[in-house]
């Protein structure tokens, strides 16, 4: 297990390309997957965005920045990442609180922090800072964690998630929360405890329901049954299902999706781009994309298995699985399996900040993989 062969074969027969990749700490299969999927995403966006070249340019620039961030983070040794984890977490937490306080004055822009030149959402930092912090907390402790340690971990995950949910940004809160929980699960939380927590959550739900106001209950019901509110949130789902369903096996062809092109489908270039893809490229296109995503997740987990210490192992595992949570939540909501929460389709949806965070995460995976041999374990 200590030294595993690369998936590309023997190390002594490195070609020039592979040498460059190794020098830049890049993992070629992962990078290839990312490039393919985001390329495919651009193709879909061209149609979904209404052949808007300005929009394409902006997305291209964003992709460029995102890949730049990936490349930069790949150069940072995991030890340094580990050292900075608590600081990043503390800084992110402070920013979240700042946003909440400043947000009280300037209503409507609560998620954003304006730093003059750059505007960004501190919650994006937390998408990485939370799993980094959880992994840092566990890295020199024997696993599985003891009860008291679990309580600390719970607080480390729940506090930022609650702050983000307060903004209110339920989708991001969910992703941040699950990225932290995944670290704990990978860290060996005992099965009995998992079962216990699941049971507790199930038992708590009716109690919570009992204490909710009528209008809150109705909101929850609409969340799970959008068809009951066709003038509001349900409109998205009805149109999205028609778009996907009418795509059939092979789709209507690129740029020919009537649902998308005639603007029946809301948010077609952002959260609901998966439906455009389904309408124009059919089941084949969707399955191909899903396979691409699964490849990225699989490769990420492979890197986690190869990792040589607890910190990198847990972090890499959590990042890979959180990526899948993204995919599942978005595709689930667009196809009407899950309630509608604002989560974009990773690497494909139009939009900036989350793309950069995503690539930063893959940058960490690259770093974990690329610095492995130097540790000389």
């Amino acid at each position: 297990m200590a030294v595993s062969p690369s998936v590309f074969g023997e190390r002594h027969s490195l070609t020039l390309g592979r040498r460059i990749m190794a020098g830049l700490r890049l993992d070629a299969p992962l990078l290839a997957g990312l490039v393919l999927i985001s390329g495919f995403g651009l193709v879909v966006l061209w149609s979904a965005g209404g052949q808007d070249s300005g929009l394409m340019m902006r997305q291209l620039v964003r992709l460029g920045v995102a890949f730049g961030v990936l490349l930069a983070i790949a150069q940072v040794p995991p030890k340094i990442l580990r050292f900075w984890s608590p600081w990043l977490f503390a800084g992110g937490l402070a920013l979240l609180v700042a946003v909440l306080l400043v947000g009280d004055f300037g209503k409507g822009a609560q998620r954003w922090l304006d730093l003059g030149v750059v505007r960004f959402q501190p919650s994006e930092i937390m998408k990485l800072a939370v799993p980094m912090m959880a992994a840092w907390y566990l890295h020199d402790r024997p696993l599985p964690p003891r009860f008291l340690e679990l309580v600390v971990l719970l607080a480390l995950v729940a506090v930022p998630a609650a702050l983000i949910a307060q903004q209110p940004d339920l989708g991001t809160a969910l992703l941040v929360g699950s990225s932290g929980v995944l670290v704990v699960l990978l860290g060996g939380l005992r099965l009995r405890l998992i079962a216990l927590l699941g049971a507790a959550a199930a038992a708590l739900a009716p109690v919570l329901w009992h204490f909710m106001h009528d209008y809150q209950r109705r909101r929850v019901l609409t969340l799970f049954n959008p068809e009951s509110d066709p003038l509001g949130a349900g409109y998205h789902i009805i149109q999205s299902k028609i778009a996907i369903g009418s795509g059939g096996l092979f789709g209507k062809g690129w740029g020919n999706g009537s649902q998308a092109q005639l603007e029946f489908l809301p948010e077609r270039s952002t959260d609901f781009i998966f439906a455009v893809l389904g309408e124009e490229f059919g089941l084949i296109g969707l399955v191909l994309l899903m396979l691409g995503y699964l490849f990225l997740v699989g490769r990420g987990m492979y890197i986690a298995l190869q990792a040589q210490d607890t910190y990198t192992r847990l972090l890499a595992g959590s990042i890979s699985l959180t990526f899948f949570v993204y995919v599942f939540v978005n595709t689930g909501m667009v196809s009407g399996l899950l309630p509608v929460v604002g989560v974009p389709l990773p690497l494909v949806s139009y939009g900036g900040t989350s793309m950069v965070t995503l690539m930063a995460g893959f940058g960490i995976l690259m770093s974990v993989n690329g610095h492995r041999n130097l540790l000389g374990k």
């Binding site: 699960l185 029946f264 969707l286 399955v287 699989g298 899948f324």
Partner: protein, 618 residues
Amino acid sequence: MRVDRLKDHWREQRMFLGRVIAAAVIVVLLAGLVVYRLVDLQVVNFEHFSRLSQGNRVRIEPIPPVRGLLFDRNGRVLAENHPVYQLELVPEQVRDLESTLAALLELELVQEEDLPRIRNQIRSQRRFDPTILRHRLSEEEAARFAVHRPRFTGVDIQARLARQYPLGESGSHVIGYVGAVSENDLKRLDAPNYAGTAQTGRIGAERAWEHLLHGTTGYRQILVNAQGRMLQELERIDAAPGRNVYLTIDLELQAVAEEALQGRRGAVVAMDPRNGEVLALVSVPSYDPNLFSLGISTRQYQALQTDIDQPLFNRALRGQYPPGSTIKPILALAGLHYGVITGRDTIFCPGWFSLPNHSHRYRDWKRTGHGTVNLEESVAQSCDVYYYRLAITLGIERMHDFLSKFGLGHVTGIDIPGEQPGLMPSRQWKRTAFSRPQDQAWFPGETVITGIGQGYMLTTPLQLAQAAAILGNRGQGFRPTLLAAVEDPMSGERENSGHQPLPPLQLAPQKVEEAVDSMIAVMHGPRGTARASARNAEWTIAGKTGTAQVVAIAQGQEYDESKVDERHRPHALFISFAPAENPRIAVGVLVENGASGSGAAAPIARLVMDNWLNREAD
């Protein structure tokens, strides 16, 4: 670190491998679930969704509910729904928007001033949602459009229900009116439920019971072809109509009061003292609410707003006037209650009053004075000097506390919006109301004039009626209400609204009777100020006149030579209830610049009380 808690890297790696494998299984299962769903949508149900999408399109249309009707207490209609024609445009179906609008403008079917609003709406809406070009077309305009219809694809006439008020100006200050739903309304209201609603209550009962009147919006999913014609209705949830609302207002009584005030500016409020039901609430002059529900032009609105008689101003709820002498019986009761006077005590009224060590003379309205008067005579003749002295004896704090209990100086809590609180001054109030320290002190002279309801004190006509009702019901007040009953239009089930008693005032019954007797003396006594208004009365009436000085004409008003004099006259006020022993009606009357409470206000109250009691007796 304890020995048994040392890290075992080998074990950890094995455990991690186990977790990763478990995670991989879950990932594959979840991905499989999504793919299964996609297969279900795209392969199994392909035909269904394809039909919905190809050529045909599904559209969701809201079905607006029918607004509930407004009735008076006897079921006479106050507000109903009437079909009107409305001109609509669906942006998606229009080939050239600008030339279409220009052509409609040429036919005078669209107004120039509406164009910015229309363009704005088209930009912000979904392209297949209709934009309203004109809210109401006349029959002739509808016909003109019908002739030219083939030229205008995407433009059509829709029949819809608009609010209509059959009584016109009568009762409009109670009924209120509806207006077009605006962006701001949607922030306040439940927006999805107003998806198809054109109008919402703006003021009065229409606003207060909007939640009852509106109903629940339904919707239908329809299949339309490429031209937007409906092919098939896929699903339909009917709208639930709004509830009918019965007001406590009696239309006939309302008309009597309006008639009596005709040509004047003023207000009448009549209540049932036994339960707080408002029987009539009149403010004159009035306006036609149909103007608002059918779309008022800017010019018409300007005219209403700048009218010197302020027809839009609800004097009954929002007009704040010095109560003048109408508060005297209540102050007399305060004197009895606090034990500073008895009914037999007399004072000598020389026609003026001075504070000790002050030379300033506070004059009585009767220059020559009333001579020796006791409590009953002081109310019956409205002797000012008696109340200058009583005020000084009581002090402003006790006056404030006691008058407040009768609903003066704070909102009564009537259930239609817009009520003003009036003002009951006190030391505390003066400290906070003025910014300059020299203005914050309370002066004895201010107590003196508060004794005759002048100075800072302000009341609304509604408060006057409420004070009369509380006294008439012997200290047991009710929150004024206009809601009599709510009816489900489908089942006809009618639910009567409850009454809200106020905390009873703890007053000695014989002291209350003394105050009531003094008010009876106003009407039936040999020297009562309003005895002319009680002539041939079938009931014992208790009343009190008031005449309040008008300080000055408000600034910024237009001067009209012939009107200036009239507007300098004092306001006339009157409060009363009858039958005095067991009142079934309490009335507050205000006539702006009516000059005299006994001359202008009391006769109106008499008409109102007679009408109500005569009919009630039948």
